[in-house]
């Protein structure tokens, strides 16, 4: 009979094939965890590098994603990429001597473009009016008081909430009507936050540069999604009126460019173009009334110049061709004098892109350096760990661990540290984002994406593998005889 262990039955054992099976990997993983647990403080310090790297990567991408979203929202709010503005400009140096011949942008251009520029689908002339509004015993100067055609409503993505936009008839008859943005209402009659109720100003009389106008419509309030949420939140907590005020300040404080776009729209007032021309610019009216103000007409003969044209083109892809077409038409109406310039949103879109790219690059660089430092930390600790464990490696080899087993063991330990650091880093990133937001609040809430989280996590695993390779090779190559003798 065999011994208690079945001695003697092992003859003919085939030369075994050693392979790293999944269960062996699991045991190795447990060994790694035990090793990390045995050196808690050291392991946490080592992980700190990875934690910082991962959290800064996630936080950076969240902040950039938030800003990008805000900027794109604002871009859409001002009319999208298809919008082209034609503005007056000083003559180029070589044409300076012709400056008395420059006609400026006029209705003539509008008609010419309508007829001869088929790539332009919509034209909205603007005549800006420096204006002071007074009503309800208060005065207010909106940023953007312009005479326009009714088409400006669609052009600039405005939405009328109360009343109506003026129509072609109002324009033709030069009626004294206006459509205001919410800021004008807020300043003259009080905002919903202050008065506690939404005031509908439609039907009220407001004096624009001392002339009475009837308010026939008011736009909705424009704001970024995050501002909107903040305001809804403030509304839901009536006790914290202060919070509401803060959220509102952000609305037109215009810290970012995106905030500016919304604030600009809220401070817009539209008057019929003809009304502005007839009542303020033609030179025939009320010189006495306006003489004291800053809005004195340019002269007795009037000033027919428009301040700008807003054009919508058929497609962004045709932007260069469209600009060329517009330019050709305008060069002809302006007798070859280049007193105008184009403003496209493409510059802005390009700027957004560049900004996002740069922010990603610099943020990624910082995060990458942190991860690199974290990786060096791991490598360092793994090297220290294997020189402490030379004897252990010798013992493991003497009982049959192959070179590959030792290699895998060290790599797994290194990766486990990195993974734990990566997971901790993902949680830390939320805290980091909160901290950064409290230091420098932006209009745009940071957006943590799953992609950013998984990329950061993937990088931490990669760093763990890379940092483990050298120590693992070193450990695997140890001579078992010398390792066993090692004191």
């Amino acid at each position: 009979m065999n011994g208690p262990l079945g001695i003697g039955s092992g003859r003919g054992l085939p030369l075994p094939e050693i392979e790293v099976s999944s269960f062996q990997l699991w045991i190795t993983f447990q060994t790694g965890l035990r090793e990390i647990w045995a050196h808690k403080f050291r392991s946490v310090l080592t992980m700190l590098g990875i934690i910082l790297g991962v959290s800064s990567l996630v936080a950076m991408s969240a902040l950039v994603a938030g800003m990008e979203k805000g900027a794109k929202e604002a871009l859409i709010a001002i009319g999208g990429l298809e919008k082209v503005r034609v503005e007056a400009q000083d003559l180029p140096v070589e044409q300076r001597y012709l400056s008395d011949q420059a006609v400026g942008i006029t209705m003539n251009d509008v008609l010419a473009l309508k007829q001869s520029a088929p790539l332009v689908t919509r034209i909205s002339p603007e005549m800006r009016l420096p204006a002071t509004f007074s009503a309800n015993g208060k005065r207010f100067r909106p940023w953007n008081c312009v005479g326009v055609w009714p088409v400006a409503l669609e052009m600039n993505e405005h939405v009328v909430e109360y009343g109506r936009m003026f129509n072609e008839l109002d324009d033709e008859m030069a009626r004294s009507v206006c459509v205001i943005g919410t800021d004008t209402r807020d300043e003259l009659w009080g905002s919903p936050e202050k008065t506690g109720e939404e005031i509908n100003p439609v039907g009220q009389i407001v004096f624009i540069n001392h002339l009475p106008f009837t308010i026939i419509g008011m736009f909705q309030r424009y704001e970024s999604e995050s501002d909107h949420k903040a305001r809804e939140l403030a509304k839901a907590q009536p006790a914290s009126q202060k919070n509401g005020a803060v959220a509102r300040n952000r609305g037109w404080g215009g810290r970012g460019r995106g905030g500016g776009a919304f604030a600009f729209k809220n401070r817009t007032v539209y008057l019929p173009l003809n009304t502005v021309w007839m009542k303020f610019r033609s030179g025939a009216t009320f010189a006495a009334l306006t003489a004291g103000g800053s809005t004195a007409p340019a002269g007795a003969t009037g000033d027919p110049r428009l301040s700008s044209l807003e054009l919508k083109i058929s497609s962004v892809d045709l932007l260069p061709e469209s600009l060329q077409q517009i330019r050709n038409v305008l060069m002809s109406t302006h007798k070859g004098i280049e007193d105008f310039t184009f403003r496209t949103q493409e510059d802005w879109a390009e700027q957004i892109k560049t900004f996002v790219h740069n922010a990603r690059l610099s943020g990624g660089l910082i995060a990458g350096i942190s991860l690199l430092v974290g990786g060096i930390g791991i490598m360092n600790i793994m090297l220290a760990s294997i020189s402490e464990r030379v004897r252990e490696i010798g013992i493991r080899k003497s009982v049959g661990a192959a070179t590959g087993d030792i290699f895998v063991q060290i790599i797994v330990e290194s990766v486990v540290i990195a993974i734990l650091g990566g997971i901790a880093g993902m949680f830390t990133s939320f805290g980091l984002i909160q901290m950064i937001s409290s230091f420098s609040p932006t209009d745009n809430a940071p957006i943590v994406t799953v992609l950013a989280l998984s990329i950061a996590f993937g990088f931490s695993v990669l760093v763990g593998v890379l940092a483990g390779i050298f120590p693992a090779i070193k450990a695997a190559k140890l001579n078992p005889i010398q390792a066993l003798r090692y004191e």
């Binding site: 262990l5 079945g6 092992g10 050693i18 269960f23 070179t403 066993l484």
Partner: protein, 245 residues
């Protein structure tokens, strides 16, 4: 065919221009079931011989056959597999992993041979019982006496049911009383049919084995056969246990 067949094995180290022959043309057979000691003063080459026999090292010249497999030119990976399945080591300093329990230490060789957890537990328990250490399975090595640690190490050496066990000065770090008990354990294992190679510098310890080989300057100096030893009149161990393939 013998369990181990060494033919003209040499191990040569080079120190600069000098050539050091740690082993010089050794030819040796070890039969299955033998209890044999290799003795010699330090520096004689006995450790080198054990390392080569134990697949921890490869010879410079000569051929080695272990259990029918030629191992003198095996790859490191194959040597590791042979160490794992066919060889057990018992060391002077026990060489248990201090962070693991006795049980986990004994399981270690089976982890590298890919044996499932349930079987690992059963077999390590059986192995610990065989050395009288079953009640210490959950202890850490640091909680055990030297003799108990050496018993745990022996259990680890036996757990994968090796063809041959090498014991390198197994009593060197124990007091004489405990050392005697460990030698007694080896004798018991030998009686159960194990092939055991005892490496020592102490002729008194070597005296417990029926066969002794003395190594001096890398050569086999004296080759004692059973009759010459005259210590054990019992018939050869092979006859007691069925070792037939």
């Amino acid at each position: 065919m013998s369990l181990v067949e060494l033919r003209n094995v040499s191990k040569i180290y080079r120190l600069g221009d000098e050539e050091i022959r740690a082993l010089d043309d050794i030819t040796l057979d070890i039969e299955a079931g033998e209890f044999i000691s290799i003795i010699g003063p330090s520096g004689s080459g006995k450790s080198t011989l054990m390392h080569i026999l134990g697949c921890l090292d490869s010879p410079s010249k000569g051929t080695i056959q272990l259990d029918g497999v030629m191992i003198h030119n095996a790859s490191a990976r194959e040597l590791a597999a042979i160490r794992n399945r066919k060889i057990g080591f018992v060391f002077q300093f026990f060489n248990l992993l201090p962070k693991l329990t006795v049980m986990q230490n004994v399981e270690l060789p089976m982890i590298y041979s890919g044996i499932p957890a349930k079987q690992r537990r059963e077999r390590s328990m059986a192995s610990l019982e065989a050395v009288g250490m079953a009640n210490r399975a959950k202890h850490r090595p640091s909680q055990l006496s030297g003799g108990q640690q050496q018993r745990a190490a022996i259990a680890r050496a036996l757990v994968n049911n090796p063809r041959i066990v090498f014991a390198d000065e197994p009593t060197g770090n124990l007091d004489s009383h405990t050392g005697e008990a460990i030698l007694q354990l080896f004798r018991k294992l030998s009686n159960e049919g194990r092939t055991i190679v005892l490496v020592t510098h102490d002729p008194e310890i070597a005296a417990v084995t029926p066969r002794r080989i003395e190594i001096r300057d890398g050569k086999i100096a004296v080759k004692l056969d059973l009759a010459l030893a005259g210590l054990d009149k019992r018939p050869p161990v092979q006859s007691q246990v069925s070792l037939a393939p």
